[in-house]
C-alpha cells in the first residue's frame, strides 16, 4: 500500500503534474488548494508526508509549517517546501521554519520523486 | 576718556602730596595777584608814585615768592617720582 502524500498547492496545473508523478510511482496523493484551512486538513487526513507550497492564498506556507512543527502530532511530519522564489534566503527560511526538504520551482520531476521517497525513508 | 574713580578718603601721605601740588598751582596765582596789586593802589594826586616804596614792595614780594617756591619745590621733589596719580 503506498504512503499517503498530502499536496497543498494553489496552481492547478502544478498540482496536477505532481499528483501524476507521485501517483505513477505508487503514492496516494490528495490535494488541497487553500492555505487558510490547511492545518485542519493535515490534522484530518494525517498523511505520511506533506508537500507544501510556500505561497498559498490565505496563509503562507512557512507559517503553516511552523504551526505544524509546534504541534506534537505533526512535529515529526516530513514536509517538503515548494517555492517559486529561488533565492538562497528562501532555503534558509524553509529550514528555519522546520522543513524537512526544500524544492525550488521549476523542478525536475525526478527530483521531486526522489525527495519524497527520501522523506519517507524509501530509496 | 574717563579718569579712574577717585576714592573719597585717601591715606594722609597721598592727601598731603595732593595738597602740595595744589599749593604749587596756587602760588603763581597768588604771585600774579600780588604783583598786579600796585595797579589798584590809588596814585598820588599828581599821578606819580614813589619809586622807592614801590620798588621795595616789588622786591619784597619777589623774595617771598622765591622762598615759597623754594620750599614747595623741595617738598615736591621728595614727593614725586611715581607717587600716586597726577590730577592733571
Amino acid at each position: 500500500m503506498g504512503k499517503h502524500v498530502l499536496l497543498i498547492e494553489d496552481e492547478p496545473n502544478i498540482s496536477e503534474a505532481i499528483r501524476f508523478i507521485l501517483t505513477r510511482d505508487g503514492f496516494r496523493v490528495s490535494c488541497h488548494h487553500q492555505g487558510r484551512d490547511a492545518l485542519d486538513v493535515v490534522r484530518a487526513e494525517q498523511p505520511d508526508a506533506l508537500i507544501l507550497d510556500a505561497m498559498l492564498p490565505g496563509r503562507n506556507g512557512y507559517d503553516i509549517l511552523r504551526d505544524l512543527r509546534a504541534e506534537p502530532a505533526t512535529a515529526a511530519l516530513p514536509v517538503l517546501m515548494l517555492t517559486a522564489r529561488g533565492q538562497g534566503r528562501d532555503r534558509e527560511l524553509a529550514e528555519a521554519a522546520g522543513a524537512s526538504g526544500f524544492m525550488a520551482k521549476p523542478f525536475s520531476n525526478a527530483e521531486v520523486l526522489a525527495s519524497v521517497r527520501a522523506l519517507l525513508g524509501q530509496t | 576718556m574717563k579718569p579712574p574713580r577717585q576714592p573719597v578718603f585717601v591715606a594722609p601721605p597721598i592727601y598731603r602730596s595732593r595738597r602740595l601740588r595744589d599749593a604749587a598751582r596756587f602760588v603763581p596765582v597768588l604771585g600774579a595777584v600780588l604783583m598786579l596789586l600796585p595797579m589798584l593802589w590809588a596814585p598820588e594826586p599828581d599821578g606819580a608814585r614813589s619809586t622807592a616804596r614801590d620798588g621795595i614792595y616789588v622786591f619784597a614780594i619777589w623774595a617771598g615768592l622765591i622762598v615759597a617756591t623754594r620750599l614747595l619745590s623741595t617738598r615736591l621733589d621728595e614727593d614725586t617720582p611715581g607717587s600716586g596719580p597726577d590730577e592733571d
Binding site: 496552481e11 492547478p12 496545473n13 502544478i14 503534474a17 505532481i18 501524476f20 508523478i21 488548494h33 505561497m55 492564498p57 517559486a84 522564489r85 529561488g86 533565492q87 525550488a104 520551482k105 521549476p106 523542478f107 525536475s108 520531476n109 525526478a110 | 604749587a24 598751582r25 602760588v27 603763581p28 596765582v29 604771585g31 600774579a32 604783583m35 598786579l36 600796585p38 595797579m39 596814585p43 598820588e44 599828581d46 599821578g47 606819580a48 608814585r49 614813589s50 619809586t51 622807592a52 614801590d54 620798588g55 616789588v58 622786591f59 619777589w62 623774595a63 615768592l65 622765591i66 622762598v67 615759597a68 617756591t69 623754594r70 619745590s73 623741595t74 621733589d77 596719580p85 597726577d86 592733571d88
Partner: protein, 898 residues
C-alpha cells in the same frame, strides 16, 4: 682804558669761551661731565633771557620809565613759580615726543604738519632778527664807548665794522659748536657750558657794578633810597595797561622765545632740574634787577645830562675811574649779547633746517647717492647756512634801522611777535580740541596783524608802509590804520598791537578749532600731548609696515650716521630677541625709530621719511576702515561658514531621506523582482513538469493531448506575462511611442468586446450600451486605449460573480474629456482593495480564477497616464465599476508623451 687792551681782553675771553665749549663737548661725548647734570648749569643757561637788553637796556628803561622795567622779569618769575602747571608738562611732552624746537612742538602736535612748522619758523625768524640786531648794536655801542673818550662818541664806520666782526665771530662760534653733529637730542653740551659761564660773568659784572654803586658810591641801601627820593626818579607813573600787559607779554615770551625753548626744553637733561630752576631762576632775575634803579639814579646824578642811560653800566665806572670794573662790565655786556645770539642762532637754524629745508628735500624726493651720511651732511650744511643767514639778517636789520629807537622798544616788538605762538602752544598742551586749522588761522592772522601794526611801522613811517596809510588806513579805510585798528586810537602802540594781534589770534584759533574736525593724526598727537602724564599712552602710531628693515637702516644711517644707526637697530633687534642688525618691523619699532629720527630732523620730517619708505602713514581713517573692513569680511566669512554648515546639515538630512527612500525602493524592487520571479517560474514549472511527464513513454494519449494543451496554455501565459512586463516597463519609463490615429469610440468598444469575448467565453454577458453617446471621434493612441477597454471587460468577465452577469457601458462627454464607465452587476470590490487592485501583481482572488499575472490594471493605469487621462474604480455602483477618462483629442507635447 686803552682800546687795544679792551680788544685783547675781549679776544682772550672769547678764546676762553671756545676752550670751555670744546672741553665740555669732549667730556660730554666721553660721558664724563657730571657738571652738566647739575641743575645749576641748567638754571644758569636759562639766563640767556637776560640779554644786552637786560644788561644795558634795563638801566635805560628805568631811567626813562621808572619801575616799569621790572615787568620784563616778573612775567618769567610767575611762569617759573608756576612750573608745575605749564613748564613741567612742556618739558615732559618735549622729552617723550623728542621735540627739537618750538616749531617742532606746534607742528608735531597738530598732526605733524609741515606747513605749521614753516609758519612758526617764519614767525620766529622774523621776530628774532631785530633782537639779534639789538645785540649787535649793544656790542658795537659798548665798543664805541671805550673807543672814544666821550661817553657817547662813536665813529659810524667803526661801529658798523665792529658789528660785522661780532656777527662773523658769533657765526663762527655757533657753527663750530652748534653743528658738530646731529645729536639725537639736539643737545649741545659745549654751548650750554659756555652759556653757563657767560651767565656767571653777566651776573658777577652787574652785581659788581651794583655793589660798587650802592656801597662805594653811595652809603648803603638807606642812602640809595634817599637818593632815589631825591632824584628825578622819585616818582614814576604806573600805567596799568602797560604794567599788566608787559607782565603778560614777558610771561608769554619766556615760553615762546626760540632761544628760551632751546635752553629750557630742548637742552634740558633732567626733568627734575625744573624744580630747582623754579626758584633759582627767579632769584637770578631778581639779582639782575635789584641794582638797576640804584645804578640809574647814581648815573643820573654823576653823569652829564644827555648821556645815554642805556650805557650807564659802562660809562659810570669809566667816569669814576674804575677801569677794571668797566672792563668787567664790558665783558658782562658782551656775554649777554653773545649768549643770546648763539642760542638764538642754533634754535633758528634747527627750525629752518627741520621745517623748511628738509621738507624741500623730501618734496624733490630723488635720493642723491646712496652713501650713508649723505643726508646728514645736507642737514648739517643747511644748519650752517641757516646760522650764517640768520646772522646776516640780523646784521642787515641793524644797518637798515641804524640803531634807531631805544633798545627796549625793539625787544618788546620781538616779544609781541613770538607771543603769537602762545595760543597754539597752550592749546597744544591742554586742549585736545585744538586743531591744525585753528592753529593755522590763529598763527596766520596774529602774525599778519603783528607785522602790520607793530613790526613794519617800526621801520618808520614811509619805510615799508606808506605814510598815508598811517593817516588814513589801508585802502583808505580809517578803521584799518596800523596804529589805530577799528578806531581805537590813543592806545599805546605796543599794547594796541598786543591786544589786537592776540585777541584775533585766540579768537580764530579757538573758533577754527571748534569748527573743524581734526585728522586722526592730530587726534592721536592731541591725546599724546594733553595726556602726557598718564601712565598708559595711546597705542603706537605705525600700524602697517611694509618697509624692509634694510631700507629703514639705510635711511637711518643717512640721518644718524652709520654707527649710531647700526647701534640703534641692533639694540632694537636684541630687544626683540633677534640676532644681527635687523629687527622685525613692528609698530613699536617704527615708533621708536621715528622718535629717534625726529630728534635730528624734526617730527614732521621724520614722519614723512618713514612714511615714504613704509608706504603707509600711521594710523589713518583709511587704516581704521581697512581694519574694520577686515573685521566685516571675517564676520561675513564666518556667517557664510555658518550658512554652509546649515546647508550641509540640511543636505545630510536630505541625503538620509533619499537613502531611506532608495532603501525602500530597493526593498520594493527586491519584492518586485521576487514577485516577477514567482510569476515567471509558476508557468515554467507546469511547462517543465508536463514536458518531462510527456517524455516518459507510458502516458496515455488522451492525457498527452491534455498535457500538451496545458503546456501550450502555460507557454502563452508566460508570453503574455512577459509582454505585459515589457509593456509596463516601457510605459513607466515614459519612453513609449504613441501612435496617433483617429477612430470612433463605438468602433473601439465593439472591438474591445469582441477581443475580450475570448475570456471566459462560456459566460454570457448581457450588454447595455448607449449607441448615441458612443458617437465620439477619438484622436489618440487607439490601440492602447482599446487595450485598456479589453482589460477592463476581461476582468469583468473573469470576476463578475453574478448569476446573470451584465455589463453596462456608459459614455459621457464633458468638454474635451470623454468618460467611459464599465459597470457590472457583480459584488464589486471591497473598499480596502479598491486602491490595491491597480498595483502590480495584485490579485484579489486566487490565481486559478484569474489566469493572469495581476498586471492588467497596472498597465491600464500607466496607459491612461500616458494618454493624458485616468482610470479609477467607481464605488457605489452596485457591482465593480471602472471609470476611464481621456481627452478626445490627445495633444502630444513636443519631444515626448505627456
Amino acid at each position: 682804558m686803552p682800546f687795544n687792551l679792551l680788544v685783547l681782553a675781549c679776544l682772550a675771553y672769547v678764546a676762553f669761551l671756545f676752550t670751555v665749549a670744546f672741553v665740555a663737548d669732549r667730556r660730554a661725548e666721553a660721558g664724563t661731565l657730571p657738571w652738566l647734570s647739575s641743575p645749576l648749569v641748567y638754571t644758569l643757561s636759562l639766563s640767556v633771557y637776560c640779554t644786552a637788553w637786560t644788561f644795558y637796556g634795563a638801566v635805560g628803561y628805568a631811567a626813562r620809565s621808572g619801575l616799569e622795567f621790572v615787568t620784563i622779569y616778573l612775567g618769567p618769575t610767575l611762569v617759573f613759580i608756576g612750573w608745575w602747571v605749564v613748564l613741567r608738562k612742556l618739558v615732559r611732552i618735549a622729552k617723550t615726543q623728542r621735540v627739537t624746537s618750538i616749531a617742532d612742538l606746534i607742528s608735531s602736535r597738530y598732526g605733524k604738519s609741515s606747513l605749521l612748522g614753516v609758519v612758526v619758523t617764519l614767525i620766529c625768524v622774523t621776530a628774532a632778527t631785530p633782537y639779534i640786531a639789538l645785540q649787535l648794536q649793544s656790542v658795537a655801542l659798548s665798543f664805541s664807548v671805550f673807543a672814544s673818550d666821550t661817553p657817547d662818541g662813536w665813529h659810524l664806520p667803526d661801529r658798523d665794522t665792529t658789528a660785522l666782526w661780532v656777527a662773523g665771530g658769533l657765526a663762527l662760534f655757533t657753527i663750530l659748536f652748534g653743528t658738530r653733529n646731529l645729536d639725537a637730542n639736539e643737545q649741545h653740551h659745549g654751548v650750554v657750558t659756555a652759556i653757563a659761564v657767560e651767565a656767571v660773568v653777566k651776573l658777577v659784572a652787574l652785581v659788581a657794578v651794583g655793589v660798587f654803586v650802592v656801597w662805594i658810591v653811595a652809603d648803603g641801601p638807606a642812602d640809595i633810597v634817599t637818593r632815589i627820593d631825591a632824584s628825578r626818579l622819585a616818582g614814576w607813573e604806573l600805567v596799568p595797561g602797560r604794567w599788566a600787559g608787559l607782565i603778560f607779554l614777558s610771561a608769554a615770551a619766556i615760553l615762546t622765545l626760540p632761544r628760551m625753548f632751546q635752553v629750557l626744553v630742548v637742552e634740558n637733561a633732567d626733568e627734575r632740574h625744573l624744580s630747582t630752576a623754579s626758584w633759582a631762576f627767579p632769584l637770578y632775575l631778581a639779582a639782575m634787577s635789584l641794582f638797576v634803579v640804584p645804578i640809574a639814579v647814581v648815573g643820573l646824578e654823576v653823569l652829564p645830562d644827555g648821556s645815554n642811560p642805556d650805557l650807564f653800566v659802562l660809562t659810570l665806572p669809566l667816569a669814576l675811574d674804575q677801569g677794571g670794573l668797566a672792563m668787567l662790565a664790558f665783558l658782562g655786556g658782551f656775554s649777554s649779547a653773545t649768549s643770546m645770539v648763539i642760542v638764538a642762532a642754533i634754535a633758528l637754524a634747527t627750525m629752518v633746517s627741520n621745517h623748511v629745508v628738509m621738507p624741500l628735500i623730501l618734496a624733490f624726493g630723488e635720493r642723491k647717492g646712496t652713501e650713508p651720511g649723505d643726508l646728514r651732511r645736507v642737514v648739517l650744511l643747511a644748519r650752517r647756512l641757516s646760522i650764517a643767514g640768520v646772522m646776516a639778517l640780523g646784521y642787515g636789520y641793524y644797518t637798515l634801522t641804524g640803531g634807531s629807537g631805544a633798545l627796549a622798544a625793539t625787544g618788546l616788538i620781538a616779544f609781541v611777535g613770538v607771543a603769537q605762538i602762545l595760543p597754539a602752544m597752550l592749546g597744544a598742551l591742554f586742549w585736545r580740541g585744538a586743531t591744525r586749522t585753528g592753529a593755522m588761522l590763529g598763527l596766520g592772522t596774529g602774525f599778519g596783524l603783528w607785522l602790520y601794526t607793530l613790526y613794519l611801522p617800526s621801520f618808520g613811517q614811509g619805510a615799508v608802509i606808506a605814510a598815508h596809510v598811517f593817516e588814513g588806513g589801508l585802502f583808505g579805510l580809517g578803521w584799518l590804520r596800523p596804529e589805530a585798528l577799528f578806531g581805537i586810537s590813543g592806545m599805546d602802540p605796543l599794547l594796541h598791537a598786543l591786544f589786537w594781534s592776540l585777541a584775533v589770534n585766540t579768537l580764530l584759533f579757538v573758533g577754527g578749532s571748534l569748527l573743524t574736525f581734526p585728522s586722526p593724526m592730530e587726534r592721536l598727537q592731541g591725546a599724546r600731548f594733553v595726556q602726557a602724564f598718564d601712565q598708559s599712552g595711546p597705542a603706537p602710531g605705525w600700524s602697517r609696515g611694509q618697509a624692509e628693515p634694510e631700507d629703514l637702516l639705510v635711511m637711518a644711517q643717512r640721518i644718524l650716521g652709520e654707527d649710531v644707526a647700526l647701534a640703534f637697530f641692533q639694540a632694537n633687534a636684541r630687544a626683540q630677541g633677534k640676532d644681527g642688525y635687523l629687527p622685525d618691523i613692528t609698530p613699536a619699532f617704527m615708533n621708536d625709530l621715528e622718535r629717534r629720527l625726529s630728534g635730528s630732523i624734526g617730527a614732521a620730517a621724520a614722519h614723512a621719511m618713514i612714511a615714504q619708505i613704509a608706504g603707509g602713514a600711521s594710523v589713518s581713517v583709511e587704516d581704521l576702515m581697512a581694519v574694520a573692513n577686515e573685521t566685516a569680511q571675517i564676520m561675513e566669512y564666518s556667517a557664510r561658514l555658518e550658512a554652509q554648515q546649515d546647508e550641509l546639515t540640511r543636505t545630510a538630512r536630505q541625503l538620509r531621506e533619499a537613502n531611506d527612500k532608495l532603501t525602500q525602493l530597493s526593498v520594493q524592487k527586491d519584492a518586485f523582482l521576487s514577485q516577477i520571479s514567482h510569476e515567471l517560474r509558476t508557468p515554467m514549472t507546469s511547462i517543465r513538469a508536463f514536458s518531462e511527464i510527456m517524455m516518459d513513454e507510458d502516458v496515455p494519449p488522451e492525457l498527452c493531448a491534455r498535457y500538451a494543451g496545458i503546456i501550450h496554455d502555460e507557454a502563452i501565459r508566460l508570453t503574455r506575462l512577459l509582454d505585459d512586463l515589457l509593456d509596463l516597463s516601457v510605459l513607466e519609463s515614459g519612453t513609449v511611442q504613441l501612435t496617433l490615429r483617429t477612430a470612433s469610440l463605438r468602433d473601439m468598444l465593439d472591438r474591445a468586446l469582441q477581443a475580450a469575448g475570448s475570456t471566459r467565453p462560456e459566460r454570457d454577458f448581457a450588454l447595455h450600451r448607449d449607441g448615441q453617446a458612443e458617437q465620439v471621434t477619438v484622436s489618440s493612441d487607439i490601440d492602447r486605449l482599446t487595450q485598456v477597454f479589453i482589460n477592463i471587460i476581461s476582468n469583468a468577465r473573469k470576476y463578475c460573480d453574478a448569476e446573470a452577469p451584465a455589463l453596462r457601458i456608459v459614455v459621457r462627454r464633458k468638454g474635451d474629456q470623454v468618460q467611459v464607465d464599465f459597470i457590472d452587476n457583480g459584488s464589486g470590490i471591497p473598499k480596502p482593495s479598491q486602491a490595491l487592485i491597480f498595483e502590480k501583481f495584485a490579485r484579489l482572488t486566487d490565481s486559478a480564477k484569474a489566469g493572469g499575472a495581476g498586471l492588467g490594471l497596472a498597465i491600464c493605469r500607466e496607459i491612461m497616464q500616458n494618454l493624458g487621462g485616468s482610470i479609477a474604480y467607481l464605488p457605489g455602483q452596485g457591482g465593480a465599476a471602472f471609470r476611464v477618462v481621456f481627452p478626445a483629442t490627445l495633444v502630444l507635447p513636443i519631444g515626448g508623451p505627456a
